[in-house]
Symmetry: C2
Subunit: 305 residues, 2 copies
């Protein structure tokens, strides 16, 4: 029987995921909850971790590798940032030990881009990135990790050149709930059901990003003048914000830069549809699989396993 070798934890702002990994690399147990940094900062990080370790029956000495917001200033132990440009492998060596624990617990650092014009930070996605890229990949790649704050990382060979955060998911939420467009999308589910409206808006915003805040308004004026459906209005908001994001993310990239989409579920489908409607070449890596692979690479580097 395979024995537990290490515990991998992805500890975000609002979610917690733990896997127990065996000596043969297989997943021996898994535990998830919504006890992200925000919750754990109140109830205690050590307590949350202990509960999930008990859930999977982790032996007392199995070490733990953590990525994500647990390493933020307002998290458990600040794990700092690795400055870009940097090699991907530097992330593996920057882990910080959590003091006072009965077992070895380490938290991986984030990435920081400190130049004055485009300051930016990443925490958690650097580990997805580690897991998403082939170790021997060459040439430029643009890695897209969509979400509340979408992260686009520009990689050349095995070096991180720079990255940009786009507030796409959060803007979608704020605009859909807290502007006049909330009336336009009333009663619609989260997923844009109107695929053709979504594609048209992605294309419009990609080619005319300067019209973004006007394109958003057409979700309303289109209803007033053309009887646009609520589903189409929502697809227009979503498509405009995603088209704007892609235009920005690729503005400094060569036209044929390969895109690696790290996503799953609803966001994966949305971004795949967007890339296709713009005739952009991309490959998809499952987001969960990527973070687990990244944590495993870190565990292997730290504990020479």
């Amino acid at each position: 029987m395979t024995t537990p070798r290490y515990i991998a934890v992805d500890w975000g702002t609002s979610s917690f995921r733990l896997w127990m990994i065996g000596s043969d690399g297989s997943v021996l147990g898994e535990s998830r909850s919504d006890e992200g940094m925000t919750t754990a900062a109140k109830t205690g990080f050590a307590e949350v971790l202990a509960k999930h370790l008990a859930t999977v029956g982790a032996p007392e000495t199995t070490p733990v590798i953590v990525c994500g917001m647990a390493g933020a200033k307002q998290g458990w132990v600040e794990a700092g940032y690795i400055d870009v440009p940097t090699s991907l492998s530097a992330i593996l060596t920057g882990a910080v030990s959590v003091p006072g624990q009965s077992r070895d617990v380490r938290i991986l650092p984030g990435l920081a881009q400190r130049d004055k014009a485009s300051p930016d930070v990443i925490r958690g996605e650097e580990t997805q990135l580690l897991g998403a890229l082939e170790p021997d990949s060459t040439g430029p790649q643009a890695v897209c990790m969509p979400g509340t704050h979408s992260k686009w990382v520009h990689v050349e060979d095995a070096d991180v050149i720079g990255f940009s955060t786009f507030m796409t998911g959060e803007l979608f939420d704020a605009i859909s709930k807290h502007t006049i467009l909330s009336h336009a999308v009333a009663g619609v589910d989260q997923s844009p059901a109107d695929n053709s409206a979504f594609k048209a808006s992605v294309t419009a915003a990609f080619h005319q990003p300067e019209m973004a805040s006007n394109l958003l308004f057409t979700a309303r004026s289109g209803q007033l003048l053309h009887g646009l459906s609520a589903a189409a209005a929502q697809a227009r908001i979503s498509g405009t914000l995603i088209g704007l994001e892609i235009a920005g993310a690729l503005s400094d990239a060569a036209n044929d830069t390969p895109i690696v989409l790290v996503a799953s579920g609803r966001l994966q489908k949305l971004y795949e549809t967007a890339f296709k409607s713009l005739s952009l070449k991309f490959t998809t890596v499952d987001a969960d699989a990527a973070v687990l692979r990244g944590l495993s690479a870190a565990a292997a580097a730290i504990w020479q396993q």
Copy 2:
């Protein structure tokens, strides 16, 4: 003594303004409140108007000319839209009478742009526009009416060619209050106090509109990495949204198109600063004076005064 000739009313979504105008064109009385369409739809439009007429002591037969949301579908009496392209003077002839009133009450129509790609509507600003432009103006002009929803109208000679709405003010509000950036701007007044941060962001967004949702995020990452002040963070949000708006509004215009800014107070200062930092030529017309001049032109056309 000059006698009351007509009553001019600018009835917006959230504000009500009434002027009593004498036979010599002078303002004999004025009354304002926050009884805009939203409030009046509940308390009664006729009642709100009667109260303000009493405040200024309007004679029983003095006619009333109204512009704004009182003419919307959800307003008092729907005044419809004049389709663009149109001559400015068509607005004057499209007024609708409010039935069942003891005095003559008319509401001016809005403007509609019905093409499929860029549907848009204006209600209220068409009257500001009437008052802002010289009757004998020639050539192309871009008229900017900033606000919750900024309106840019493209005029050629005395014809309205087309227009665009940008959700600048409402986006600023939703982003400042309902995203992670609310922490970045906590405790700051509404007016951007950091002028240099504002100008830098206007310029950045104008020249790289595709980076808008990334530039917004730098209000936070700039604080994390460079100790950006809350005032500068707010100026960055405001500047980014205004720079994006101007880039979009002028994207189809010739470089030397004269801009007419119709604004007052805080917004006037903000947009003047933005235009100057982009080296754009503009003239400013006071927004209150413009709407009153527009209403007067309509009164003169309707009642041959």
